[in-house]
């Protein structure tokens, strides 16, 4: 059933591959303008969830609904999925993505401004003429974010975007996401292992564990008891100066 403000909904959905169920009875509503974090141990079905939301995998049963007709999804994959041997400059990739959306498939004059604006928003203007193989991990990830934004998405779906990034690049990227969310009211769904990065940013967190999706307000979901239960290892959560800190107790 569609609820007010709902952008996307799973109803009693079973997700998985032919002959293999990964997530059972998932019911979840994504509201427009929210920032949602999806977390969970390796192999619990985070990528399956993302692929299903992108319609790359069919539902095994239940219902999945995008309430906005023609809702455009901006997808930001892990940078490892991108092949940097393609002889493209940063600017080329964004222009090609834009002009692939319309007919004829040539770049239109007014779209230069759109590409420039997105490059500025994602802080890659200085990289415009660099080719893909010269970009660092953080720069490539910002380019992938820009590519997702250039099509003016109503929702951004990010699949472990900060995986394999160093601490500073990761924090910078998360700050950028937060800024885009606040300034442009873009709905964010981010799959991550970095629980700390969600604190103070995500309004809702979904935890995948034991074939189920549990979700709720960030403070409730990122509690010591729940995380300990999900990860099967003692997790300590404490607050200091109004911030939450998450750490693992003892040897992992």
């Amino acid at each position: 059933m569609k609820m007010a403000g709902g952008l996307f909904q799973f109803e009693n959905a079973c997700l998985g591959y032919p002959g293999h169920e990964v997530l059972a009875d998932v019911s979840f509503q994504l509201d427009a303008g929210t920032f949602v974090g999806i977390v969970g141990p390796n192999g619990v079905g985070k990528s399956t969830l993302v692929k299903t939301m992108l319609s790359l995998l069919p539902l095994r049963s239940g219902h999945m609904t995008w309430h906005q007709e023609h809702a455009r999804i901006g997808y930001v994959p892990q940078r490892e999925q991108i092949d940097a041997i393609w002889p493209m400059r940063v600017r080329d990739m964004l222009q090609l993505t834009m002009c692939s959306l319309h007919r004829p498939h040539w770049f239109r004059r007014g779209e230069y401004a759109r590409v420039a604006e997105v490059m500025e928003a994602t802080e890659i203007t200085a990289l415009a003429d660099q080719t893909l193989d010269t970009l660092s991990g953080g720069e490539m990830q910002r380019l992938l974010l820009a590519r997702a934004l250039v099509v003016e998405p109503s929702v951004l779906l990010l699949d472990e975007p900060t995986a394999a990034m160093d601490l500073f690049a990761s924090e910078r990227f998360m700050q950028l996401i937060t800024k885009l969310h606040r300034e442009r009211n873009v709905t964010i769904v981010i799959v991550t292992h970095d629980l700390q990065a969600l604190v103070g940013r995500a309004s809702t967190v979904g935890i995948l564990a034991n074939g189920m999706l549990h979700y709720g307000p960030t403070a409730d979901m990122l509690s010591a008891e729940r995380l300990t239960e999900v990860y099967g290892h003692p997790v300590d959560v404490h607050s200091k100066d109004g911030k939450l800190f998450i750490s693992i107790e003892g040897d992992a």
């Binding site: 992108l54 319609s55 790359l56 999804i73 901006g74 997808y75 994959p77 999925q81 991108i82 092949d83 041997i85 393609w86 002889p87 493209m88 400059r89 080329d92 990739m93 090609l96 993505t97 002009c99 692939s100 959306l101 004829p104 498939h105 080719t131 193989d133 590519r147 997702a148 099509v151 779906l157």
Partner: protein
């Protein structure tokens, strides 16, 4: 020298061979950019073998070899694009099987053929000088059609090849654009294979784009260099084969692969 070239190309068989070399070679070189970037070079090697099998079957059944080349290329594309989906054997395994089966069966089928037409066997020896007007015209038509399709839909081909997942989220039908790319590849290979054999077809598909990708890091320069190298090497190879009485197809293929050497040295020095 100019007079010598004029005399050389006053013969119609030389002009037809040059037409196939320049148009077919330039087109295959261009398509080879995608073969390299999508990392499907082995598929590019297997397709000519299946096309060769198609030609051999056509010869055996007394059909025009061109019909066999086109059908062989299309069947090969269909088989290879749907292979590897069962999960029991990786795609590379299927491609390898196609390469070995196509190449060996083509020879067996020709050996079983009661009286193969000598002219129809050109694709084995790479004797491009036997090209006729219809074959040259076919190569031109395929090259022009391929150029038009890519000019109109360039961004679709690049986006769907570069990141199929992203292209699906944009609403692009990646499978359709893949099929169209492979269709162009199938017709392109058939047009060159029929006249000059698998050696020239594969040489053009691999050599010029490899050199261009080593030299440049931007699509416009890579494309211009690739097509220019493909066409110029076809001209140079054909001319050299005439002057030194060498087999046309293999000489053109060698000329197409030659730019790899200076490009590789340039890349090493630059690094």
């Amino acid at each position: 020298m100019i007079a010598g070239l004029q005399e050389m190309y006053s013969y119609s068989f030389m002009r037809y061979a040059l037409t196939v070399g320049v148009f077919g070679g330039g087109m295959l070189a261009f398509l080879g950019i995608f073969v390299h970037l999508r990392r499907i070079v082995f598929l590019g090697a297997a397709l000519p073998q299946i096309t060769a099998l198609g030609i051999a079957l056509a010869v055996c059944m007394h059909l025009p070899p061109l019909v066999g080349a086109v059908l062989g290329g299309l069947v090969g594309i269909l088989l290879l694009s749907t292979s590897g989906k069962s999960g029991h054997l990786p795609t590379e395994g299927w491609v390898g099987l196609a390469y070995a089966t196509g190449g060996s069966l083509a020879i067996v089928v020709l050996a079983l053929s009661p009286q193969p037409d000598a002219g129809a066997l050109r694709f084995f020896t790479g004797d491009i000088l036997g090209t006729n007007r219809a074959e040259a015209l076919f190569a031109v038509i395929v090259a022009v059609c391929t150029a038009c399709v890519f000019r109109l839909c360039w961004s679709k081909f690049v986006v769907s090849s570069f990141d199929p997942v992203m292209s699906k989220t944009l609403g692009l039908r990646a499978s359709f654009w893949n099929a169209l790319l492979f269709l162009c590849l199938g017709f392109g290979l058939a047009s060159v294979m029929n006249s000059a054999g698998s050696m020239l077809a594969f040489g053009m598909l691999i050599g010029p784009p490899a050199a261009a990708l080593m030299l440049f890091r931007g699509f416009p320069r890579v494309i211009i260099t690739t097509v220019a190298l493909g066409s110029v090497s076809a001209f140079a190879g054909l001319t050299l084969s005439f002057v030194f009485d060498l087999p046309g197809g293999p000489t053109m293929a060698t000329a197409a692969l030659f730019p790899m050497l200076p490009a590789w040295i340039y890349r090493k020095i630059k690094r």
